[in-house]
Subunit: 492 residues, 2 copies
Amino acid sequence: MSKKLTSRVEDYSKWYNELVVKADLAENSAVRGCMVIKPYGFAIWEKMRAELDRMFKETGHENAYFPLFVPKSLFEAEEKNAEGFAKECAVVTHYRLQNDPDKPGKLRVDPEARLEEELVVRPTSEAIIWNTYKGWIQSYRDLPLKINQWANVVRWEMRTRLFLRTAEFLWQEGHTAHETKAEALEEAQLMNTVYADFVENFMAIPVIQGVKTESERFAGAEDTYCIEALMQDGKALQAGTSHFLGQNFAKAFDVKYTSKEGKQDYVWATSWGVSTRLMGALIMTHSDDHGLVLPPNLAPNQVVIVPIFKTDEEFEEISKIAKLIMSDLRAKHISVKYDDRTTFRPGAKFAQHELQGVPLRIAIGPKDLQNGTVELARRDTLTKEIVSLDILTNVVEGLMTEIQDTLFNKALNYRAEHTTKVDTFEEFKTVIENKGGFVSAHWDGTAETEDKIKEITKATIRCIPLDAVEEEGVCVYSGKPSLKRVLFAKAY
Amino acid sequence: MSKKLTSRVEDYSKWYNELVVKADLAENSAVRGCMVIKPYGFAIWEKMRAELDRMFKETGHENAYFPLFVPKSLFEAEEKNAEGFAKECAVVTHYRLQNDPDKPGKLRVDPEARLEEELVVRPTSEAIIWNTYKGWIQSYRDLPLKINQWANVVRWEMRTRLFLRTAEFLWQEGHTAHETKAEALEEAQLMNTVYADFVENFMAIPVIQGVKTESERFAGAEDTYCIEALMQDGKALQAGTSHFLGQNFAKAFDVKYTSKEGKQDYVWATSWGVSTRLMGALIMTHSDDHGLVLPPNLAPNQVVIVPIFKTDEEFEEISKIAKLIMSDLRAKHISVKYDDRTTFRPGAKFAQHELQGVPLRIAIGPKDLQNGTVELARRDTLTKEIVSLDILTNVVEGLMTEIQDTLFNKALNYRAEHTTKVDTFEEFKTVIENKGGFVSAHWDGTAETEDKIKEITKATIRCIPLDAVEEEGVCVYSGKPSLKRVLFAKAY
């Protein structure tokens, strides 16, 4: 715990990996590419989940649960979707193990227990869900159908990184069905806005709302809306996506409804999701060389109190004050932990809470007892001040908002400084190579150009921002006419 | 929706299956033995989960998340556990699909993408978790380690039934590590008590706390504590189990700790779990021939208000009153829904809410407008009364507790009437065959006798009750001496 992190400048990627493990967020498991989310990391994910769940319910969605497995014949029904995920599917082929006749005490797959049809471990649930919706939707009375699922999914990735890209990850996936195209489009856009609201206001991470180009779209979607965030190394991270699926899945699974007027038509669909990848975005947006920095909204403990004492009497007196502070803070719905462990010294506790990003640390020592004060340390700014006990609760309450805002604004400034308008390809290459960040440039709208630029610079079009202004220009690569700038970046 | 349920007397099993589907709780999916938990069913499960999660955290447990897959070599490390689950393991053998060269548009498993080591889809997580704990536990400072996981697990069952026995189900599994045997035993017993508390006081289902015989124990456990409930058809249902695992997993995965005194020893373990099977217990304890009956604690909507009107003016006036009632009830933390759908008539709404077990229904019609009253209907007793608006909130609040208590007491009476002390094997057979329920009888303590009784009567020893009194007697089957009665029953 005492060993220092590699600094970001030294090796950003190493810094990230060390931080995730040392701050007790997650670690690699014995299963290739699958992670263990440790209690502290999971407590942060639980906070995200609770807030998102509230937002989904407020916008009229209900939770349900669909099977982990998708029979191969259902999986392949929507061809584009199947094609998009086929290369990364874990497949169950057998349903029994038996004693290995050649190796006593060992097991082997029972060759007699082969499934008639292989089962795909869901990489996403459109197929199994739309096959179910077929039975649920007959008339306009059954619409809209707005369901969300919290689940684990598996995508067999070759190169994995904790939270950012893992073979198994946790996510939520919304799947809705609507009478009209307009209503489905509105839903897809609404949920993208819900994501933006959550990530900006709850996680303190500024995002660009946009729409994906055809080559970056979800397999099987007609439009993919997204929120894109910028990490501290100048790379972009897709933080959430919301897809307008047209009638593709309704047609693949024959889901029709009878309208008020008695007409039959296929329904219109959306799906949308965010995952434990958000943990990666959280870490890489706010954290520093000392460790994790948590916005108060996401902190399992917003405040930690550390007693500093030599005698038992001092400890007792400090504990009394700590308990009063805790009860005052809890009354204001501020979560607080009294770290009275006797197995660790104050220095070790300070280091741990700093590494784990607790927003505020209150230290109480013998001098504070005399003066009626405490020492208050902010994790985001690493500043300390002496605060009188009479005003402590109000100060802490104010700081909860202030820290949340400070983190957001800091990230917003970083993004502003790392968003560059360029008009030539030379400039494009220089910025992508040296400065990083978002590059705002004209593009001719073709996949060929997009591919070429990616090949040369490794930058992809992150999105066509929803608020992009109409502006005549020429494509930075081909010189062909363009009406809008799009956002390029290297991305996670 | 309007079609009546099969009655319990007619065909209990059919009644159950119909109720689960018609009340919108769950349905079978396209995947053999896997269910879809529908939004209404899932909302009930969410209530259970929230309350259990609160109870686990209050008793010092934290949540985490471990991989879905268990490499075969880890799975087989604890031999008894592996042997117990080997026959029902879904196994992932490949990680990629590809286009089927023989069938255009179809996919097949890519024969080149065979895993070096097969992955078992977790039927339970002891193996993967203990392999992880090995890295987390070095000294007494790391103990106790008290972690819970909410997850999906897969057990390939041949005969499945919605909620009661499904190939995939949702559950929580607690996994704890301790310094001493006494501490681990205490934890296993405590969590069994937490389950009993939850099932009795939250779900209104009385349970017997006991310990399993060796043959009914969890594979790999030294002792299995359990809570056993009695269903309306006289069959028992195991509602939760808590295992004392001794040092079996610590030894299999080499998890040692250094004590305060500097001595090395294996740690002591427990695991405990409840699952979506509790939904089956809920349904089969309280429901009747009209459909689901929900204790108020578990009802997604505790109260539903149905307007009855002919004119728009009446509807408007009723809606005003309904909104006042809703705001009063919500202030008392009572969940209430105003069913103002125009696509259904009041009769259809009544039928739906009855089928779905909403504890209280408030109907407001034109006469009520004149009289300042509403009609209040209880789902549990199917009784109705006219209640004046001035006292409505208090009446409803009182009924929330009363209905919860009534349901519990009804189930408790049923159990008392269906628990029979027998002292001869003739009597044993007659009771099991004709009356059903729990049979309290002396048993000689041997697995042979247990097996024989099971073979002849299909009844198993559900548990040795924790509160069994010491009493000299002779085994009902073998005539050998016995010091305690145990509980037999046919079981789910």
